[in-house]
């Protein structure tokens, strides 16, 4: 009995090895469990829809169909490296959409580079990732070099803030964003009163906020993600810290107002890569189909779709099951019509011309108020 059971189990596990010849795999790596599983699922579902749409249009080349395979990096760089090795080991995988978090993208990028596998990140904004000299790395989002200066300029010029406090969650993403914000804000003549780190997953920020209150900043910038932002907003209100709040794309989430309390979150600013997909004409069809299928669209679902679509296009042009060929096609791809606008990459693999939107929380929703174009294209 046990023998048969284990036989069935073993055959279940080894079956992917005998994948059909007329199949290539588009991989996806994102946090599917753990603290960022919700956002990760949004990316995964977007990418999955791109693969399905491509399959409806017919074989990607010859008789070859695409298969979608998602692996969970748990928002953990160590796990991200394991995921990358797993993809590399499967000869059917021609490219990977991922990872979501900058820390994971960075850790895994060396593995993909060694395996000559294209990696297209939908959302990792840390500038360092594309400066390691890996020709296999691409991303379809703006970097923090665009995002954070846009935020700093907006805070300094449009809001007229002169004295700010900066917080970050000590991750590759959060610290990077906060550092870029600080550089630009100081360059514009602003004063940074404090720059403190917090720990992700921590809940109690009262001591830190009490300290920040005592230096009385006009604005607090947070490099981090929305669960901590909600806690910060809530606790700042409790101790009577009356500063404006601002954050990057990490705090841009529908549930921020719900978690912090709608009246408390009111007036918070966020930068977001590009604009709200609801307001991009080209993305309407995708948004409607996504929401009919999965409910409210995730903040990065459209990026997941675009990252997968670009990759599929490169596979189609390569016309064979060969990672180098896909990579070569990725590097020469021009003006790919993504749903969020044309996709072009510079020599480092960063998306060109991706603008940043400034949003303000009004009545529990982030409302688009301004678009900031990148100043230089490289």
């Amino acid at each position: 009995m046990h023998f048969f059971l284990s036989l069935i189990l073993v055959s279940f596990f080894i079956s992917p090895v005998f994948a059909k010849d007329d199949e290539v795999v588009i991989g996806l790596a994102a946090p599917l469990t753990g603290d960022q599983a919700y956002t990760g699922f949004g990316v995964m579902q977007g990418a999955k829809m791109a693969v399905e749409d491509a399959n409806i249009r017919g074989p990607v080349f010859g008789q070859t169909k695409l298969r979608f395979e998602a692996l969970d990096d748990q928002h953990n760089p160590t796990q991200a490296v394991l995921v990358a090795n797993k993809f590399i080991a499967n000869p059917d995988v021609l490219g990977v959409v991922g990872h979501f978090n900058s820390s994971c993208s960075k850790a895994a990028s060396a593995i993909y580079h060694e395996g000559r596998m294209v990696q297209v990140s939908p959302a990792s904004t840390n500038p360092e990732i594309s400066r390691q000299g890996f020709d296999t790395f691409f991303r379809v989002c703006a970097t923090d070099e665009v995002q954070a200066p846009a935020a700093a300029t907006f805070a300094r010029v449009d809001l007229g803030a002169t004295r700010v406090a900066i917080l970050d969650d000590q991750t590759t993403y959060g610290r990077g964003l906060a550092d870029e914000f600080r550089k630009r804000f100081e360059k514009l003549g602003g004063q940074v009163l404090r720059h403190d780190g917090i720990t992700q997953g921590e809940k109690d920020f009262m001591p830190l906020l009490t300290k920040i209150k005592s230096v009385d900043p006009e604005l607090v910038f947070f490099g981090g993600i929305y669960p901590e932002m909600a806690l910060l907003l809530k606790q700042a209100q409790k101790i009577g810290l009356k500063a404006k709040w601002m954050g990057g794309d990490g705090i841009f989430d529908v549930s921020l107002a719900q978690l912090a309390g709608q009246d408390i979150a009111e007036g918070a600013y966020a930068t977001m890569l590009g604009v709200d997909p609801h307001e991009v004409p080209g993305a309407q069809d995708f948004v409607t189909r996504y929401e009919a299928r999965y409910g409210e669209i995730g903040s990065f679902s459209a990026y997941g779709y675009d990252a997968a679509s670009v990759l599929i296009e490169a596979v189609r042009r390569a016309g064979k099951k060969d990672r180098e060929a896909v990579l070569a096609q990725m590097r020469v791809l021009k003006d790919f019509p993504g749903i969020l606008g044309p996709v072009n990459f510079d020599e480092r693999g960063d998306a060109i011309g991706k603008s940043v939107g400034i949003f303000k929380m009004e009545n529990g929703k982030f409302k688009f108020i301004k678009e900031v174009k990148p100043q230089t294209s490289s």
Partner: protein, 305 residues
């Protein structure tokens, strides 16, 4: 008031608040250790479940009986969470620990770690992996004491935690069951020879510890307004540290340890650096253990040979 003093008092208050919650959880660790010499790693998860139950109860109460005075909702929420967690505590003891009684201590420890995974993932499957928000049940009322702000939830945390600690002390000191617990923790075999049902004592210990964790979880959920299925991990580690700090096995030790840990953390984050907050708290623990290996109030029991 002098702004420096004002800041100091506010930081002290911040630390005491979280310290009270640590103390409530630490009691569960220390009581179970007292009777079983087992570190129940699933205890942090019971605390997290307590928070989620409070969240569910608050959602129910605010949608079903809108307009009820807040203290009725509060009472309902505590009762709901306490009942749920007590039951959970009893079930955990019955399924994960009792079958292993008599096997090496390490086996039960591994079982508790397994239980902790089971609970985390069960909550993730039931409530989803996304951060859940706790409905506002308390009025946003604040007291200003010469520049030091005290919120209603802070007052509730102090009142509940302190009265529960007093009740627990009375229970252990004055009741028959409390006496049985002390006897069983001193020597389980001798206790059972005296006609004490050691299994009954152990079950009561788990139920009591879980009920305290339920209150801690409910207060935690109300204080921070959001919950994640990971929250039991960090809070559990901190409370365990507090229990060791105060002397594991000692009930007043857990109370003192929890409050002190909260205050150290608060001052560490408030005056030194919030990035090094945990380092500060754990560093103090290490220093204390170097000089007093059994913790602040722990008894110095010589190793049996």
């Amino acid at each position: 008031m002098n702004p420096e003093l004002q800041l100091f008092l506010q930081q002290l208050l911040n630390g005491l608040t979280i310290g009270m919650v640590y103390a409530l959880i630490a009691l569960g660790y220390t009581m179970v250790y007292g009777v079983l010499q087992l570190i129940n790693f699933a205890h942090g998860e019971v605390f997290m479940v307590g928070g989620y139950l409070a969240l569910t109860a608050a959602g129910l109460a605010t949608s079903l009986w809108a307009g009820l005075p807040f203290w009725v909702i509060l009472l309902f929420l505590f009762l709901f969470s306490i009942l749920g967690c007590s039951l959970l505590g009893a079930v955990i003891e019955r399924t994960a620990y009792r079958p292993l009684r008599g096997s090496p201590k390490l086996t039960a420890l591994i079982s508790s770690i397994g239980m902790s995974f089971v609970l985390q993932n069960a909550v993730m499957l039931i409530y989803g992996s996304k951060e859940q928000s706790m409905p506002d049940v308390l009025p946003r009322w604040q007291l200003d004491l010469g520049g030091v702000t005290v919120s209603l939830i802070q007052l509730i945390i102090f009142a509940t935690a302190l009265s529960l600690m007093a009740l627990l002390t009375l229970f252990v000191k004055r009741t028959r069951m409390g006496k049985a617990m002390r006897a069983a923790s001193e020597n389980p075999e001798a206790a059972s020879l005296m006609g004490i049902s050691v299994n009954g004592v152990i079950r009561t210990t788990f139920v009591l510890g879980s009920a305290l964790a339920a209150v801690g979880g409910s207060l935690f959920a109300m204080n921070y307004g959001s919950l994640n299925f990971h929250d039991g991990y960090l809070a559990g580690i901190k409370a365990f540290t507090a229990a060791v700090f105060g002397g594991i096995g000692s009930i007043p030790g857990a109370m003192i340890g929890g409050v002190l840990l909260g205050v150290f953390e608060g001052f560490g984050a408030g005056y030194i650096s919030s990035e090094w907050k945990d380092v500060f708290a754990f560093g103090l623990l290490i220093i204390l253990l170097l000089f007093r290996p059994s913790g602040i109030l722990g008894e110095n029991v010589p190793e049996k040979v």
